[in-house]
């Protein structure tokens, strides 16, 4: 009996929720409702199996809901207009009268009346205390009124204050958790250290609530295959994630694909100067890596920055044809989400025999659990060009840009999983009668995108193992994706325009073909070496004295030692 092989997603931390918001927006952009809707030419097996990540429910208004199987934890104040219980199941007051007819929010006076009727408080004694309503972003207002103008410029990059501002997806009441009493601060990280985050997990009432929510999600699953865990590694959420992962392994013992996210900014911590801040960041990373090297099935650090260490002018990775502000959370998280969505496509398609476990296993030979991310967005295939020509002409020029900070897997002895999207089969090669030059290329024998990619990497990467998957579904880059990052040199379906030609102004890029890879090679050991090199500069004494950081010297040193052992797994260059 075939049943759904569910995955539970967890997002811990503010930046993780930014990336998550884009990720879910992307999922819902690919929903097709009913037959004939959406891309008819896409074969059944190339469509996404949404039930893997989503659950069906019924709200109190007897309406069916379809929401992400998600547990999210964030600081107080990051939810903006979003009520803690989400917007689908009621239980909140709609503060904006204009929006009352839409959605499930209630009128304030009615709520008050019902409270009085229910007998918990006599009429005369009920005292109302209102906070001023949170300002709704223009995009959200239009979204709720169902009147989003796709061509309107909402200037999301400039106006987004927090991730709910651009969230198209809607969450289940079980999803959102807020750390009580810890409010977001504009200048520094609220929970500074790994240990402080770990202590949060231990807090009884929070722990009980969170583990119960996880349990209820998993109780619904017939064939849970594992977890996607996104978290902010720079601050205390690393500790929270570490504890959470331990709990998941103890209780459920499934595969976990963990994505630590680095802020694309220089992070600072309360009561710490820049040098101490650096020490804290290094220590947090070391403790998290140590935990992940033991607990995770696979982990892939992500950031749009080139490196995390000593990167004072925020030198960013560059993707050709794309421009973004290096420290803009909305734009950078959009990119990272595009990577995540593309890279995980392989095991989320319908009828795929792939599973999260096998996916992780394949790119983590002999315990090398840390992997690197690579993305090509847009893929760079020209308008009217076929994939076969594109690959032929790319020569030695690398397709992928690395998205793991300080990781360069190189081009030989690489173990990788690549996923391509947005190349329809007819763009693979020309039919025999019109083939011309293509006939002479070795790749002409390939009948699918994945086959051709496999061959390409076989030829261009020495001694490497590649697993390729593909789907014709492109990345949807309409609102609320940061479409403004695309340069003028491509057409609205994301294909490169010939020569110097530019897209008509006013026309947006609606969808893009993309290629994402998760790679592993001996060279990733250097990433760990770099991390280790930072520890020489660390002010351990000061760090240990740092307030509300219960870090123990022993704990830190054990983590460091074991991290070096973990690094040794990457040592033998001949071994694959």
């Amino acid at each position: 009996m075939a049943h759904t092989r569910e995955i539970l997603s967890l997002q811990l931390g503010t930046y993780a929720n930014y990336v998550g918001a884009h990720f879910w927006n992307q999922q819902e952009a690919n929903f097709c409702y009913g037959d004939g809707d959406g891309d008819d030419q896409v074969a059944e097996e190339h469509l996404l199996h949404n039930d893997i990540l989503y659950r069906e429910g019924l709200n109190s208004h007897n309406r069916t809901t379809y929401t992400p199987r998600l547990v999210s934890v964030d600081l107080a104040g990051t939810l903006a207009h979003l009520p803690l219980g989400g917007e689908l199941y009621g239980n909140f007051v709609q503060r904006d009268e204009e929006l009352l007819p839409f959605g499930t929010g209630e009128d304030l006076n009615k709520t008050r009346q019902r409270v009085e009727e229910s007998g918990v408080a006599p009429t005369s004694q009920l005292e109302l205390q209102e906070e001023p309503p949170t300002q709704l972003s223009e995009y959200q207002r239009d979204l709720m009124k169902n009147s989003v103008v796709p061509d309107k410029d909402y200037q999301l990059a400039e106006t987004v204050r927090s991730w709910p501002d651009f969230l198209y997806a809607r969450y289940h009441p079980r999803s959102l958790n807020v750390l009580p009493g810890l409010a977001r601060s504009p200048v520094h990280q609220t929970i500074s250290t790994y240990s402080a985050g770990a202590a949060l997990w231990e807090e009884a009432s929070f722990n009980e609530e969170l583990t119960d929510r996880i349990r209820l999600y998993i109780e619904e699953c017939d064939g849970l295959q594992g977890f996607h865990l996104l978290f902010d590694i720079d601050d205390g959420f690393g500790g929270l994630a570490g504890k959470c992962l331990e709990h998941l392994n103890d209780e459920y013992g499934r595969a976990s694909f963990v994505v630590p996210l680095h802020y694309p900014r220089a992070t600072s911590y309360p009561q710490a100067d820049s040098r101490l801040s650096h020490s804290i960041r290094v220590a947090n990373t070391i403790l998290s890596y140590h935990n992940l090297s033991e607990q995770a099935t696979m982990f892939t650090p992500l950031s749009t920055l080139e490196t995390i260490w000593r990167n004072t002018n925020l030198k960013s990775r560059t993707l050709s044809g794309l421009q973004w502000q290096p420290d803009n959370l909305y734009q950078t998280s959009g990119l990272l989400a595009a990577f995540l969505d593309t890279a995980t496509l392989g095991y989320r398609l319908r009828n795929t025999p792939e599973s999260l476990m096998r996916f992780c296993d394949r790119v983590t030979p002999s315990g090398r659990k840390m992997t690197a991310a690579g993305l090509a967005l847009p893929l760079g295939v020209g308008e009217g060009q076929d994939l076969i020509e594109f690959l032929d002409q790319s020569g030695d020029h690398a397709l992928l840009t690395q998205l793991s900070p300080g990781c360069e897997p190189g081009t030989s002895y690489v173990v990788q999983s690549v996923t391509a999207r947005g190349i329809p089969l007819e763009r693979l090669k020309r039919p025999r009668e019109k083939a011309g030059d293509q006939m002479r290329m070795a790749a002409y024998g390939c009948d699918s995108v994945s086959q051709m990619l496999q061959l390409y990497y076989q030829c261009s990467y020495h001694g490497s193992v590649t697993n390729a998957a593909s789907t014709p579904l492109p990345l949807k880059s309409q609102l609320p994706f940061p479409y403004e990052i695309f340069g003028a040199g491509m057409n609205s379906s994301g294909f490169r325009l010939p020569g110097e030609a530019e897209r008509e102004p006013g026309l947006r890029v609606d969808s893009v073909p993309a290629l994402a890879a998760i790679q592993n090679s001996t060279q990733l050991g250097e990433h760990l070496d770099n991390l280790h090199a930072q520890t020489h500069r660390i002010q351990l004494a000061k760090l240990l004295a740092y307030n509300n950081c219960s870090l123990e010297r022993d704990e830190y040193e054990t983590a460091l030692d074991q991290l070096l052992e973990f690094r040794d797994l990457y040592a033998d260059s001949q071994y694959l």
Binding site: M1, H3, G57, L58, N59, S60, N62, A76, L79, A80, L82, P83, L84, G85, N91, F92, V93, R95, T111, R112, R114, V115, S118, G119, V120, A121, P122, Q125, L126, E127, L128, Q129, E131, P132, P133, T134, P180, G181, A183, V187, H188, D212, R215, L216, E219, E220, D222, G223, L224, Q225, G253, R254, A255, P270, Q271, A272, D273, S355, M357, D361
Partner: protein
Amino acid sequence: MASISLLNPKAEFARAAQALAINISAAKGLQDVMRTNLGPKGTVKMLVSGAGDIKITKDGNVLLHEMQIQHPTASMIARASTAQDDATGDGTTTTVMLIGELLKQADIYLSEGLHPRIMTEGFEKARDKALEVLDKVKVPVEINKKNLVEIANTSLKTKVHPALADLLTDVCVDAVLTIASDKTKPVDLHMVELMEMQHKTDTDTQLVRGLVMDHGARHPDMPKRLENAYILTANVSLEYEKAEVNSGFFYKTAEEREAFVRAEREFIDQRVKKVIELKRSVCDGTDKTFVLINQKGIDPISLDALAKEGILALRRAKRRNMERLALACGGTAMNSFDDLQEENLGYAGVVYEHVLGENKYTFVEDCKNPLSVTILIKGPNKHTITQIKDAIRDGLRAINNTIADKALVPGAGSFEVRAYNELVAFKDTIKGKSRLAVQAFADALLVIPKTLAVNSGYDAQDTIVKLTVEDRLNPDLVGLDLATGEPMKPVDLGVYDNYIVKKQILNSCSIIASNLLLVDEVMRAGMTSLKG
């Protein structure tokens, strides 16, 4: 100039009188916020957040958690009263009120030149005396239903509407009495599960002598209702999945893999068979039925096999429910299915499923001798349920405190009035200026009856005069009747407070107040304030 400014010229600081003024104003501010909540006639606050989240509460502790307190002094007081709640489950509002009032009264004398140190010494003496009085007036009680009802009712009436309080009182007392094996030790309140159910039209709270779980069977053919049921609680995985996770295995061919999968499946099937065999041996030929409640997962194939046998199976039960189940139904929680015996099984008269929207609930009821019970809270929306839940927690704590103390203190402000009178008399026996502090302490205690009177719409001074005079004439304690505004005897009306709560309040308030009084310099210096 403070020495800190030599090191850090940008540091902000306040000295002596100024520092004291900061602390006192903070304490007063907090007192003002909480004042209206005290007592059964206090207001209920409905908090609506910027995003529209609703919270309804009268509980000082909940309010303090909701408020984002920035002021360092205020947050210190708030922490003291939160600690009060953790220790005793009640008295948070009183703590805040009393600390504020102690500082206010002290301020009068300090402004006339009394040294804070003398003040705090006097506070200590006064506190010891007040504790003595407390010990004298406490009423030893027998642990029976009537007494517990009275104490729970007093506590609950300060949290919810009286009509609802009466209902909750019965539920709380019955819950504790059901699971208390001997009536001398406090019960483990974890064994009272609070289960909430959001129901459009229904507001009701009831005691279930058994267990309610927030999940149901995941197979369409499983029975929805079973009577006379054996309950097997287990922590054994019944799903084929592990194999892939611990894949230290490598297979050369697809056949090898297939064989491996089959072997692993076989392993799980064996476990399911053991359960079925047990069911057959104990149930066949009788009218008994069988329920399996598992902490681990059960996959669809196993569910199917169990459903064919008419077994109701639940997966992923809460860890704590394993313990509760064993106490409610008897039997033991099994960690393996080898050697399953009938005596490992528990028993319940009826097990049934209830579906509400997307949520399923499973009731395990009619247990023989339940040592774990469930309080089921039904309400039309989340915020009502939360408020009732908070109230029930406090009610249970009050009952438990009574069982631990085996004593109660008459309520309605009567203890404070008596302590006031005793302290005023005690003051004359003290030499030196610290007698002023004892006077201040005595005055501060009166804030409780005063606030009770004001919140019920009576005149504060009138009430205090009436009460203090009446108290002097009477050997019994005299409190305020909130319905009439006249003095009454709380013992007659059954208004009681917990002894431990009062004791804790006296202790923590005088300590915190003393600490705050002794502060003579407040400074703020740090990286963040430098950065701006």
